[in-house]
């Protein structure tokens, strides 16, 4: 994985020193909160319901064991012994003290991490495929390109004050595990008939108040020119994106208002001016970065057999383990959705265990998924049983990946100032109905339930097979029910099914939906989403509302 060079570290050190000074000045009352707030937000520090919340960037969701151990240390020393992995592959801490913040930043920077550009109207953390470098279906590892985007976008002076925040995702396979069509820019790395690499570029996707799927702005941009092309998109957005209305400021609104043809014309015109200026990285820089993502030295003699005689282990392998491109290896997903747990939360002790396992068994790499789980991407099959046993010992071996209990939930009104309703209790109540019967969960099959506590959609409710949106109804928590969303390669936006519910009502409604689906599916392996797409909303609506 990528290691900082002297320039990366110098940038982080300078920015940390700058922000530490700003914190000190605020604590001495030399600057007001109105002056300080935009500065702290640019450094990932929010004031939430109970305390300051810090969002730490995890570039394209990749961590080393050392970095994960530092995240555990921060949870233990500066927070309340846990962290929350987010739908943007970052981690959040909920109980941070401003007066300890300088020390915290120093600790983070020791392991090449920071928190800047995790808030504010800038290019946010670049996200990617959690199976990158391990998936058999990728054309190349997408992370070198995500890393190049990270370097390009870090403190980019032209794009530090965009009309609104800007999110980019990069994948390299036809299977979309990063929801690229729901990003401001989605990049799919492909290989053409000549063997060259290039990107299909989506633009204008997003969730939130106005959910829109991204559209193709260019079907092929050679890999050597994707940076200048991205710059052209950002320039058009920065110039014409609306700054008069926060609800219409995202690029998706600009693309929609202009139409994709006119937007494309403007981007192409801008790129025609930019491309000759030599903004793209030289081949040597590509080579330098790609070399740092060179595949581990997989053992060609690694045993491809797996002893599945332990039924619990077998269940976990069948549900949470994916094929690896190298024979004798596997990709293991660690569920952060244990029984009665909080989606995405991990204790410092659990983080330490994961760090140990990564170092010992997984080439010292951990990935964060946008579904709030973690991945050990390079595990010898012969080590899987030991990994599973270690995970089982700390409640991290729940075999529920992509099942009804693998629910995404934002922090909601248990933590977040923006939320209108709580999300986590809804996820817990739905999961409680199924979590004691794994056979029933597997019979239901793939079912992605996603819960957001407000219209901003951090819980990705618009991409849920079943989406739940918390709203405020005359001071009371209420929940809208949406169906038919997908953040995968078959991307679609969930639609509201009917009137909303209270807390218990929404849980019962999901129960009725699932019961109807099981009675109506055309075959045992027809997914909930496919049954919905085949039948349309009417019978589901009848099942829920009578």
């Amino acid at each position: 994985m990528y290691r900082y060079d002297q320039y990366d570290q110098a940038i982080v050190d300078a920015r940390v020193a700058e922000f530490k000074d700003q914190v000190a000045r605020r604590l001495r009352n030399e600057i007001t909160e109105d002056q300080f707030k935009p500065l702290r937000l640019m450094n990932g520090l929010y004031l939430q319901l109970h305390a300051y919340m810090l969002r730490v960037a995890i570039p394209y969701g990749t961590l080393s064991g050392t970095q994960m151990r530092m995240l555990a240390h921060i949870a233990r020393k500066y927070d309340r012994d846990y962290g929350h992995f987010t739908t943007r592959q970052n981690i959040q801490y909920n109980w941070i003290k401003l007066e300890q913040f300088a020390d915290l930043l120093d600790d983070l920077s020791k392991v090449e991490m920071h928190a800047f550009q995790t808030s504010g109207n800038c290019i946010r953390n670049i996200s990617s495929d959690q199976f990158a470098g391990a998936a058999a279906d990728e054309v190349a590892d997408p992370r070198p390109y995500a890393e190049l985007l990270r370097q390009w976008s870090t403190l980019h002076p032209e794009f530090s004050f965009l009309p609104r925040k800007f999110k980019i995702a990069v994948i390299a396979s036809d299977t979309d595990r990063a929801a690229i069509q729901l990003h401001d820019i989605g990049l799919q790395l492909r290989r053409n008939d000549a063997g060259d690499l290039g990107f299909r570029v989506y633009v204008g996707g997003g969730m939130g108040r106005t959910p829109i799927l991204g559209q193709v702005v260019r079907d092929w941009i050679p890999v050597g020119q994707f940076l200048s092309y991205s710059e052209a998109i950002l320039r058009v957005y920065n110039r014409y994106g609306r700054r008069d209305n926060i609800y219409k400021a995202r690029i998706k609104i600009l693309v929609t208002e202009l139409g994709i043809e006119e937007f494309t014309r403007q981007v192409e015109a801008e790129w025609a001016l930019l491309e000759p200026l030599g903004l793209d990285a030289p081949q040597a820089e590509y080579d330098r970065i790609i070399a740092q993502f060179a595949p581990p030295a997989f053992d060609p003699a690694a045993n491809d057999d797996l002893d599945l005689s332990d039924p619990d282990f077998r269940l976990w392998v069948e549900q949470n383990v994916h094929p690896h491109k190298a024979p004798g290896y596997a990709i293991a997903t660690i569920s952060l959705k244990p029984r009665a747990g909080i989606p995405g939360d991990a204790s410092s002790a659990q983080m330490d265990v994961i760090a140990d396992l990564a170092e010992r068994y997984a080439q010292d790499e951990i990935r964060v998924t946008h579904s709030q789980n973690l991945v050990l991407a390079h595990v010898r099959k012969s080590d899987l049983y030991a990994v599973w046993q270690a995970l089982e010992a700390v409640d991290l071996a729940t075999p529920n990946l992509d099942l009804v209990t693998d629910i995404i939930a934002c922090p909601g009104m248990d933590y977040c100032t923006l939320a209108n309703a709580r999300s986590i209790p809804i996820a817990q109540k739905i999961a409680a109905k199924f979590e004691n019967d794994i056979a029933e969960q597997r019979d239901i099959g793939e079912l992605k339930i996603k819960v957001s506590g407000c219209i901003n959609g951090c819980g990705h409710h618009h991409a849920g097979h079943i989406g739940i949106l918390g709203v405020d109804k005359k001071g009371e928590e209420a929940y809208q029910l949406l169906l038919g969303g997908s953040g995968a390669e078959d991307a679609s936006l969930a639609k509201i099914l009917g009137p909303g519910f209270d807390e218990n009502g929404i849980v019962a409604a999901v129960d009725r939906l699932i019961a109807f689906y099981r009675s109506a599916r055309a075959a045992p392996d027809e997914r909930f989403l496919d049954t919905y797409r085949r039948l349309g909303p009417a019978p589901f609506k009848a099942a829920v509302y009578g």
């Binding site: 009352n29 109970h50 305390a51 109980w95 009104m413 248990d414 709580r422």
Partner: protein, 95 residues
């Protein structure tokens, strides 16, 4: 309807309530604020040591005030999903 004054301490972010002479981490210590509330908020804003000072509506009696909104009840009790982190002065059951 009674009102109480709440905010977050600058240095720590801790949730606090005004007890008539100082700040308390317990809503049970909060006092009802009368017409002087707006002036008090204006003073606190100017002092810049308490973030987001605000008067909120509550029901009940002193010592047992309960905020009228779910949001403020969560602030007073702690996250409803982490009983181990509860503040103790307001039961999560009231959320």
């Amino acid at each position: 309807m009674p009102r109480v004054l709440t905010g977050n301490r600058l240095e720590t972010g801790d949730v606090l309530w005004w007890n008539g002479s100082d700040w308390s981490p317990r809503i049970a210590d909060a006092v009802a604020i009368g017409d002087e509330g707006e002036a008090l908020v204006a003073r606190l804003v100017a002092e810049e040591r308490i973030n987001d000072p605000v008067l909120i509506d509550v029901t009940g009696e002193p010592g047992a005030f309960v905020p009228t909104t779910t949001r403020e009840r969560v602030r007073a009790s702690g996250p409803s999903v982490r009983a181990d982190l509860a503040r103790g002065s307001l039961s999560v059951e009231v959320i």
